[in-house]
């Protein structure tokens, strides 16, 4: 067993974990944050996407011990007391989810994209989502939602691509 200390959504967690414990299982079962999902076990589907020091990673491809000392953001860290994060709001407005299983990963990938590229084209969004599978929507309404979120972040009068 190895001691680890991680910060998730601003809150500090300390646990003794087995070396082989996957980070996604740590987040779900030790930190009890179940919004991060497991869909494929092989890093292909992106349901387990979290932000690791602000960058999107697949938490099924990392061991919990490797995250020792890291600052992580999961879907639970986005909404505040005042309400939904604007990207979540756009997903609601544009019907950007169906079963919701891929949604946390999609939203976190979208957040990382918009921080890097505030006004992405449809093509850029499609590329940014390449690591996130959605079996329900065919992606179009997710893309609409991300474009909507980007447009709302723009100062009034700025032209969208």
């Amino acid at each position: 067993m190895y001691p680890i200390r991680v910060t998730i959504n601003g809150k500090e967690f300390t646990h003794e974990v087995e070396a082989r414990l996957l980070l996604v299982h740590y987040i779900r079962e030790k930190a009890r944050l179940t919004g991060t999902h497991v869909g494929c076990d092989t890093g292909n589907c992106g349901a387990c996407t979290i932000l690791y020091h602000g960058k999107p990673i697949k938490s099924c491809l990392m061991l919990a011990v490797q995250a020792n000392g890291a600052a992580l953001t999961t879907i639970e860290g986005l909404a505040t007391k005042d309400g939904l994060h604007p990207i979540q709001e756009s997903f609601l407005d544009k019907f950007g989810f169906q079963c919701g299983y891929c949604t946390p990963g999609m939203i976190l990938s979208a957040k990382a994209l918009l921080e890097k590229s505030p006004d992405p084209s449809e093509e850029e969004i499609r590329e940014a989502l390449e690591g996130n599978l959605c079996m329900c929507t065919g992606y179009q309404q997710i893309i609409d939602a991300i474009r909507d979120a980007a447009a709302k972040r723009q100062p009034a009068g700025a032209k969208s691509k």
Binding site: V38, A79, L84, C99, Y101, L129, Q141
Partner: protein, 801 residues
């Protein structure tokens, strides 16, 4: 049937794209999928067969049982002793199969033993310590292997690998072929694929010793049937089995077949006396979590020289793998779209269900109808070419015409409404078809391999469940129905529970829209309990989320229960207000008299009378405000071989795809994709749009990317999303859609089906476009998927994909 004006008090919500605020938890990471439930569990891992076909000798679990942390083990030998075999539905030959392999293994991935341990890591470690003696048998992998006279048999007791074979003739098929000017004949092969919901199967089971009963949490998609099957197989009273279905991460039919694993979990839970959990891995899901069967089809059109299709002969051989519960269904359900959108007066269809050492099959999105429409729409293009008729004209000449509605197909399917020719014309206009065709020659001269294809399809909804027994003659289920409970809380706000489950379609929002307009309130005031609990939910044997039935029977039950509660509230209000019942209206959570506006009573006051001041209720009125109603689809016929409807509602659509093929790499790129569809009245266009596009992407995955590939030993070689390729956002077209509205006269809200249509219509549209693009090479598309490798090989060598 009730008119819309009788159903609705207001028209503020139904028909509008109301946001899914009822499902806000999905956006916040607060959903409750089975694996998220805060139940401390020991974990189950399943040992699966490494052979496609083998006699099963000793399964020695002693070393595994001795490992620290291992709590219990079960093998097929015990299962065969304490449970009944899996019940078949459509097959006519005997075939005995248990939920754990007993005596034999019949596919790679078949469960052989299951272990419970303190955690999933230990459980998987322990699997490696189980020693299994296999005596390998020759595997039977492909359909033609299974049909050979000397083929090894999967089920010796059946005496054949063909477990169902039936030929149904409707109309004068001999005359059609006698009078034909031309006969066009073709054969097609359809591959295995699956819609692979992103959430795998998950089950938690808990045994309660004092009551000798089980509580199970599972993402089961058709619990009505599962509960019956599980209790029968375990020989326990229904009251000793409680099933809870919380949020589910997609279904698409694939979660109709997880119930055999519930039996395994229950048996193990009883051994360890504490809650246990099984979380299927993606590899397990792809290996053994069910597929759509591969199939071989032969089809013949009897044609008049003007292009009119006089008759259709069809032979369908489904490789149903090795799950006797569902074998045979894919053949029979094709009758729902046997003639597609066309007025073909005579049909002959032979259906064979073949078992092989491939994995289990179950009703994957569209169930056989994607194949049927693929074959029909390929054939229409092929016949048009042979007769020298334009493919658009060929379709227009054969469509069921709007004035023929309601139209009954030769086998008895009733197409209730729709304008199929106009749907095609609109789709072609939206796609710029004429313009594309005009420029195609020029593009070809520039060396661009561009093509455009279309597909006109029928999307049936609400299964008439007796259909698959047609071959057996003993329907255990008929028709389709659902139940709902609607109550008014103390505070005057409604709460709703239905007998069905939601796989992610936003049922809560749609239900809230309907109830809000029936009671003249806002939808956010309507609480909808979408989690099923068999202890309290009003389910039936039909209950579940499948065959696009929600708009029809689920909402039918909600409407009938809401009407009961509304009628009761009106009676109580009339008494309290001393007003005439006929004068009463609903507005903003209040019932008032249109004759005297001073007479008004809020729902909350009515609830107070019903729940608290019961002595003030009208004479004979029961206290309380909760009503239950069951609703059955009105149009289902009893199954008979001469006249039956497989499904009740029939949406229609036209897909037009324009593609460009890179002849060096074989990659197919979309230039345009248009869908015009008619699903009758739309209750929430935002939800409908997502279903139409999402479903179409399932079809695009099937046509271009996805395939379960088996080698000759019966080993599945595509066992992760690295080699079983799903569509990603990049590379897909931006879909353009158009809508037509032909209300269904047989559903309360005039709705038809939505959810499967895209998965049905897209295959042929893309295939026809690819064939058009490769016309200069003379390449024909006779099988799917259209992978880059097959494209390049066809161009260079075979001329056939």
């Amino acid at each position: 049937m009730m008119k819309l004006d009788e159903i609705f008090a207001t028209r503020n919500w139904v028909g509008n794209p109301i946001r899914r605020d009822h499902d806000i938890r999905f956006l916040k990471g607060e959903a409750e999928y089975v694996d998220d439930l805060p139940i401390e569990c020991a974990h189950v891992a399943i040992l699966r067969s490494i052979h496609a076909h083998a006699r099963l000798g000793k399964v020695d679990t002693s070393k595994a049982e001795a490992m620290p942390g291992v709590l219990a083990v079960i093998t097929g030998e015990e299962v065969a002793r304490v449970t009944k075999p899996v019940p078949p539905r459509a097959i006519t030959k005997p075939a005995t199969q248990y939920v754990l392999a007993s005596g034999k293994v019949r596919y790679v991935g078949e469960p052989v033993a299951a272990i419970v341990a303190e955690n999933r890591y230990l459980a998987e470690d322990a699997l490696e310590q189980i020693e299994v003696e296999y005596e390998p048998l020759p595997p039977v992998v492909e359909i033609q292997d299974a049909l050979k006279k000397d083929s090894p048999l999967l089920f010796e007791e059946a005496g054949s690998n063909v477990l169902m074979q039936d030929t149904l003739r409707h109309g004068d098929i001999e005359k059609a072929f006698r009078e034909a000017d031309h006969v066009v004949r073709e054969s097609f092969k359809m591959h295995r694929y699956s819609s692979t919901p992103l959430e795998n199967w998950v089950i938690i089971a808990k045994y309660d010793r004092p009551s000798d009963s089980y509580t199970v949490w599972a993402n089961d998609q058709q619990h009505g049937r599962s509960i019956v099957n599980i209790c029968n197989m375990m020989g326990i009273p229904n009251s000793h089995f409680r099933l809870i279905v919380p949020d589910a991460g997609g279904g698409f039919g694939i979660k109709l077949a997880l119930w055999p694993y519930i039996v395994i979990l229950c048996l193990l839970a009883k051994k360890v006396d504490r809650p246990i959990k099984w979380v299927q891995t993606r590899r397990e899901h792809l290996l053994a979590g069910t597929h759509a069967p591969d199939c071989e089809v032969e089809i013949e059109f009897a044609l008049r020289k003007d292009g009119k299709i006089l008759g259709l002969r069809f032979q369908d051989i489904d490789n149903d793998g090795s799950f006797v519960h569902t074998a045979g269904i894919y053949g029979m359900i094709k009758f729902a779209t046997l003639v597609g959108a066309y007025a073909i007066p005579a049909t002959e269809a032979e259906m064979l269900s073949v078992v092989t050492n491939k994995g289990p099959t179950v009703q994957n999105r569209g169930v056989g109808k994607p194949t049927m429409i693929f074959v029909l729409e390929r054939m229409v293009d092929i016949a048009a070419k042979q007769l020298g008729i334009d493919p658009v004209e060929m379709r227009l000449r054969n469509f069921v015409q709007p004035q023929q509605m309601p139209y009954t197909t030769p086998s008895g399917e009733i197409y209730e409404s729709g304008d199929y020719p106009e749907c095609l014309r609109r789709a072609l206009r939206l796609a710029g078809y004429e313009d594309f065709k005009a420029k195609q020659g020029e593009w070809r001269k520039q060396g661009r391999h561009v093509g455009i294809g279309m597909s006109a399809s029928i999307e049936p909804g609400t299964s008439n469940l007796g259909y698959y027994y047609t071959a057996r003659g003993t329907p255990e289920y008929t028709g389709n129905a659902e139940g709902a409970i609607v109550g008014i809380d103390y505070d005057g706000n409604p709460n709703v529970m239905i007998g069905s489950v939601d796989e992610g379609q936003g049922h809560a929002t749609t239900i809230a829209q309907v109830v809000a307009d029936m009671l003249a309130i806002r939808p956010d005031l309507v609480t909808v309990h979408t989690h099923l609990d068999s202890l309290v939910s009003p389910f039936l044997g039909h209950s579940g989320c499948y065959s696009n039935r929600f708009n029809d029977v689920d909402l039918g039950a909600v409407i009938m229960a809401t009407k009961k509660i509304r009628d009761k509230m009106l009676r109580i209000a009339a008494h309290a207000l001393q007003a005439k019942l006929g004068d009463l209206k609903l507005k903003d959570g209040t019932i008032y008299s249109a004759a005297d506006a001073s007479k008004a009573i809020p729902f909350k006051e009515i609830a107070a009378l019903a729940y608290k001041r019961v002595l003030l209720l009208p004479e004979g009125e029961e206290p309380g405000l909760k009503e239950i109603a069951y609703y059955k689809s009105a149009m289902a016929k009893l199954p008979s071989k001469t006249d039956f409807n497989v499904q009740i509602t029939h949406s229609n659509s036209v897909h037009v795809a324009a593609v460009e093929v890179d002849v060096e790499t074989g990659l197919v790129k979309f230039l345009k994709y248009v869908i015009v569809h008619d699903c009758g009245n739309q209750l929430n266009p935002g939800i409908v749009e997502g279903m139409v596009i999402g479903s179409t992407v399932h079809g695009i995955g099937a046509v271009l990317l996805e395939e379960f590939v088996y080698n000759e030993d019966g080993q599945l070689v595509t066992t992760s999303f690295m080699d079983y390729m799903k569509p990603v956002a990049a590379g897909l077209p931006h879909f353009e859609s158009g809508h037509m509205v032909s209300p269904c006269p047989y559903t309360l809200l005039g709705t038809k089906s939505v959810g499967e249509g895209g998965a049905i219509g897209s295959l042929a549209a893309v295939a026809n476009a690819v064939e058009d693009a490769l016309a200069p090479f003379g390449v024909r598309v006779k099988s799917l998927p259209i992978t880059p490798e097959k494209v390049v090989r066809a161009i260079r060598e075979t001329k056939v994909i």
